[in-house]
C-alpha cells in the first residue's frame, strides 16, 4: 500500500494564548488528489494547513510527510528540509507576508535560489513562470505597488517557480474579483491535470465544488465535522448550516414567510 503524501494523525494545536487552533484532527492526503478543507472563519483551516506544511508543530498527535514524522528535529536535517520544501509549497493568505522581496522578479526567484540552482536556471524558471501567469509587465515592480489580485498571482507564481508536487493553498481566492477567481479555478484544473496534489483551505463553496476530489469540513469547535466526496457534503445543508458555511434565509412568497438555508450552490423549490 502506498503511504499518503501528507498525513496528520489526531493532531491538536493550541495558540500561545491558550485558544484552540485545531482539535483531534486526522487528515490524509494522497498523491495527485485535490483535497479542500472547508470551514467558517477561525475554524482552524489555516492551522491545519500550517501543521501539514511543517510551519507549526502539534501539541498532540503526529504529522507525517512521505512517511517521515514532521518535527522541528526532522526539519533541522538540511537534506530532508530541502526535499520537503521543494516537494510541498505553501500559499499564504496574507500576500504581504509572502512577498517579502524588493521586486516581483526577486520574489519569484527566492524559492529557486534556495534549491541551489545555477543563476541561469533560476532566471529561466523565473521568466517562464512570469510568462505563464502573464506577469512579465510587472516583473520589476515592488510588491507595495501591486493590486490585491496581482499580489495573489505573484504569490502563486513564487510558489510555482519551485515546482512543488503538493501545493497547500490558504484561501487562494479571498480578495479576488470574479474574473480572477475563475482564473484560479482554471489554473487549479491545469495543475490537477499535471498530477499536482492540491490542499486548499477555503470557505468558498463554489471553489470547493469546482476543484475538490474530496472535502473535509471543519466545525466551529475546531474538530473535523465531516469528510467525504464534494457531491455529498456540499449538498448536505444541515451539515453546512451547523458549521456556519450557509445561513438561514427568510423571505416572503405569496404573503407567507418562507425560511430556508441559503447558499448560492443550491436551488430550492418555492412550491
Amino acid at each position: 500500500m502506498v503511504a499518503p503524501l501528507l498525513q496528520a494523525e489526531a493532531v491538536t494545536y493550541h495558540y500561545p494564548d491558550g485558544r484552540a487552533g485545531i482539535v483531534e484532527a486526522s487528515v490524509s492526503v494522497a498523491e495527485g488528489e485535490s483535497l479542500v478543507i472547508l470551514g467558517a472563519n477561525a475554524s482552524g483551516k489555516t492551522t491545519l494547513l500550517q501543521l501539514l506544511a511543517g510551519l507549526i508543530f502539534p501539541a498532540r498527535g503526529t504529522v507525517r510527510a512521505f512517511d517521515i514524522v514532521l518535527s522541528e528535529q526532522s526539519l533541522q536535517d538540511g537534506d530532508f528540509a530541502r526535499t520537503f520544501r521543494q516537494r510541498v509549497g505553501f500559499l499564504f493568505q496574507d500576500t504581504d507576508a509572502m512577498l517579502f522581496s524588493a521586486t516581483v522578479y526577486d520574489d519569484i526567484a527566492f524559492g529557486p535560489l534556495q534549491l541551489d540552482l545555477t543563476p541561469d536556471e533560476v532566471r529561466r524558471r523565473v521568466e517562464e513562470t512570469l510568462s505563464l501567469l502573464g506577469l512579465s509587465a510587472i516583473a520589476q515592480q515592488p510588491p507595495h505597488q501591486l493590486s490585491g489580485g496581482e499580489k495573489k498571482k505573484v504569490a502563486l507564481a513564487a510558489l510555482l517557480a519551485v515546482s512543488p508536487g503538493a501545493l497547500l493553498l490558504d484561501e487562494p481566492t479571498s480578495g479576488l474579483d470574479p474574473r480572477s477567481q475563475r482564473w484560479f479555478v482554471e489554473l487549479a484544473g491545469e495543475l490537477r491535470a499535471m498530477g499536482k496534489t492540491l490542499v486548499t483551505a477555503t470557505h468558498d463553496l463554489h471553489v470547493a465544488d469546482e476543484i475538490a476530489d474530496r472535502v473535509i469540513v471543519l466545525g466551529e469547535d475546531h474538530r473535523i465535522a465531516a469528510e467525504g466526496p464534494p457531491e455529498r457534503l456540499l449538498r448536505d445543508l444541515d451539515l453546512l448550516l451547523s458549521v456556519n458555511l450557509v445561513h438561514q434565509h427568510a423571505h416572503i412568497h405569496d404573503g407567507r414567510v418562507h425560511v430556508h438555508p441559503h447558499s448560492h450552490l443550491h436551488a430550492h423549490d418555492h412550491q
Binding site: 500550517q50 530541502r82 517579502f100 522581496s101
Partner: protein
Amino acid sequence: MLPSWVAEAAPARSAPRRRSAGFIQRTLHQTARFAEHTVFAERVARPARPGLLHTLDARIKLLSILGLIVAATFLHHVPSLWVLAAFIAAAAAVSRIPARALFHRFWWSVPLVFVIAALPAALNLVTPGDSLLTIYRLDEAVRLGRLQLPPELTITRQGLASAALVTTRLFVGVLFAVTLTLTTRWDDLLKAAYCRASAPFVLILTMAYRYLFVLLRTVEDMHLAKRARTILPGTPSAERRWIGRRVGALFSRSRHLTERVYSAMLARGYRGEPKALTAFHLEGTEAAWVLACAAVASLALLADRLLLAKLPW
C-alpha cells in the same frame, strides 16, 4: 433587532470652522508625503525610457560615484570641484533626470550648512588672514561673565575661501549621492553592495524597506479610521494617549508580521543562508563610463594641483 436609536438622524450643524491641523495630522501628512516621494523616486530611477545612468550596471555606478566623491575630497579649490559637479550634472541631463528632481531634495541644505557649519570657519578666530568685513572692533577687552570677547571679529578672505570650499565639497558630494539614488532603485543599490559578507545586512535592509510601506499603510488606515469616527477633537493629552496606544498596536502587528514573513521564508526553503540573484555586466557603456569618470577626476586633480595652486587666491 436593532435598538431604536440607530434610526435617529444626526442633528444638522452649521458650516465647520477652519481649524489648524493637529500634531497627528501633520505627522501623518508628512508620512504620506514621504511614501509619495519614495514612489516618485522609484519611478524616476526606472523610467519607461531609461537614460545613460539608468542603464549602467549598479555596481559599476556605485563604485565610480564613490570614486568621484573620494576624488572630490582631495580637491582644494572650488573651480576644480565645479568640474566634477558639471560632469555629473551633464551625465544627469543626458539621462533625462529632471533638474527639479535632482536639486529639489537638497537645495535648502547647502545654505544651511554654509551658515551653521562653514561660516564660523570664515571668522578670524578660526582662520586668521586678510580682513574682508569687520563685524565689530573693541577698544578695550569686554567680558561677558566668564567669556572674554575677542577685541576684533572679522570675516577673512582666507576664511571665506575655506568656507566656500567646504560648502562646495558638500554640494558636490550630495549631488553625486542624489544622482546615484535617482538613477538606481533601492533594491539595485542594495544588490550592488551584495557580497558574501554583506548578504545578511542586504537581506535585512531590503526587507525593512519593503515592509516600511506595509506599516505606513497601517498607520494611515489607523488614522483614517479614527478620523472617520471622530466627532469632537480630543484634548492634547487624549491625543497623546491615542498615539501611545497606536504605537503599541503597531509594534504588536509588526511582530506578528515578522513571524508570518519568517514562516513564508521557511516555506520557500530558506535555511538561514541569504541568497540573491545578482548580475554583474561590464559592457562597452560601462567601460566608457569608467574611463570618462577616471579622465574627469584626473583632470580635476591635475588642474587643482598644477594650475589653480599657482593662483594668488
